[in-house]
Amino acid sequence: MKKLAIAFFSIATITVLSSAISDTNCDTKILKKEGITELNPFYYSASKVNVVNYDYRASRKEIEVPLFKGEKYKMVFNKKGLPKDVVVDIFDKDKSHANRKSLFTSEGNSAEIISYSPEKSKKMYVRYTIPKADKVKESGCIVFILGYQLTFVTEEK
């Protein structure tokens, strides 16, 4: 009886813990994989998974993205893990600059996977605008994948 109780308790604990991790209805590995597919022919550089909590008021979150001069990039955002759309904006400067320029917005674009390839590469700032919840608190996740064009010089051996 004691062994049975321990077994049950262990299973329950593990299950509760793992359900807490995936509480946001996100399989980030699959979402990331889908995003990487969209990068082609760019190479995977980095990714960022953000848990999005819809609260009683709208909120914003910003991510700094270092892009090196003369390099070519593609940014992919997979929004399939979101129960409500989040607007993605990309700016040339951080939020402390009132006169910063908007380079991209997803507003009006209902696609679940969106992408942006900057014409000029310099440090950029991705902003997520999370709308307020509709009476019920919800959560989800957004996956951002950065890709770069890999070019290099080799000598014949």
Binding site: S45, S59, R60, K69
Partner: protein, 292 residues
């Protein structure tokens, strides 16, 4: 005995209850949950919006940095990368984590320069360290290593494999709620990459602007290493070394002009003395890392 039985029964009840709740699906799209908050207090007219104060950023790929240096003329020189024979010296968790990053940078350096044997040697030490760190999954039980060896003469395939290793490392850390450790790998790879680049850096060489450009991410690298929360990793010397590099760089006259928003890192020109000073700081930290 009766008392034990009662405890056991209670455990079964708690366990079973938790199990039933845990098995309930996470809320799907358009589904409601029981977690309802009070909405009466919301003043619709007021523009209620909160801005996260947390500074979030992504770190670039060390493979890309190596490729940028390669295009700027960085050639392979035997003996300057971290020798694979040092692997046996890395017996602490910190040394393994850091030199996983170092050897990853050396691997990219070898692959981009079509150094067949060096590439094979470095992929093997990277794999060895990934096993020791507890990330064998990134090599898919050896499948990726076999594929690497098979495609050694096909540079595109090899680089695709390196990218897969990077992506799987990120996946592994994310799945284990360990994403902050990416900063430790990256910082060590960054130091090694900067060290390799600095070997041929002079005020005239085309690699120097690329090295200076890398300094633009150092602030974030330091922040990310400081934020990693595994107390069993002793990265204080790494933070100190990175801060010293940053202080040295920020002390240069030209760099002080960066306060002007119209000046970017790519406009900075350093003197040979300044480059030497910067290189010395990088070499000092790199030596501390590879000495384990």
């Amino acid at each position: 005995m009766k008392k034990i039985n009662n405890i056991a029964k209670t455990c079964v009840f708690i366990g079973a209850t938790s199990f039933v709740f845990a098995c309930t699906d996470a809320p799907k799209q358009n589904e409601t949950t029981t977690d309802v908050f009070e909405v009466e207090e919301i003043v619709e007219e007021a523009p209620i919006e909160t801005e996260s104060m947390e500074h979030d950023f992504v770190l670039p790929s060390p493979i890309q940095i190596a490729a940028m240096f390669n295009r700027s003329g960085l050639k392979f020189e035997g003996g300057i990368a971290n020798p694979t024979s040092n692997l046996s010296n890395y017996n602490t968790k910190t040394a393994r984590y850091l030199n996983f990053g170092v050897y990853s940078a050396d691997l990219a350096y070898a692959v981009l320069n079509s150094e067949r044997q060096a590439s094979l040697d470095y992929i093997n030490v990277v794999r060895d360290l990934s096993d020791k760190i507890g990330m064998p999954s990134i090599f898919d039980g050896g499948t990726l290593l076999t594929s690497f060896e098979k495609n050694i003469d096909n540079q595109d395939s090899i680089l695709a494999i390196l990218t897969t290793i990077k992506s799987r490392t990120d996946d592994y850390l994310m799945e284990n709620n360990d994403a902050s450790k990416e900063a430790v790998f990256f910082a060590a790879a960054w130091v090694e990459g900067m060290y390799l680049g600095s070997i041929s850096a002079t005020s005239e060489s085309s690699i120097t602007p690329r090295i200076i450009e890398q300094m633009s991410i150092l602030h974030n690298v330091i922040g990310a290493v400081k934020a990693q929360n595994d107390e069993s990793l002793d990265v204080s010397f790494l933070v100190k070394g990175l801060e010293e590099i940053q202080d040295t760089f920020e002390g240069f006259e030209e760099v002080k002009s960066l306060d002007n928003p119209e000046v970017s890192f790519s406009d900075i020109n350093l003197t040979n003395e300044e480059i030497t000073l910067l290189n010395q700081e990088i070499e000092t930290l790199r030596t501390a890392i590879i000495n384990g």
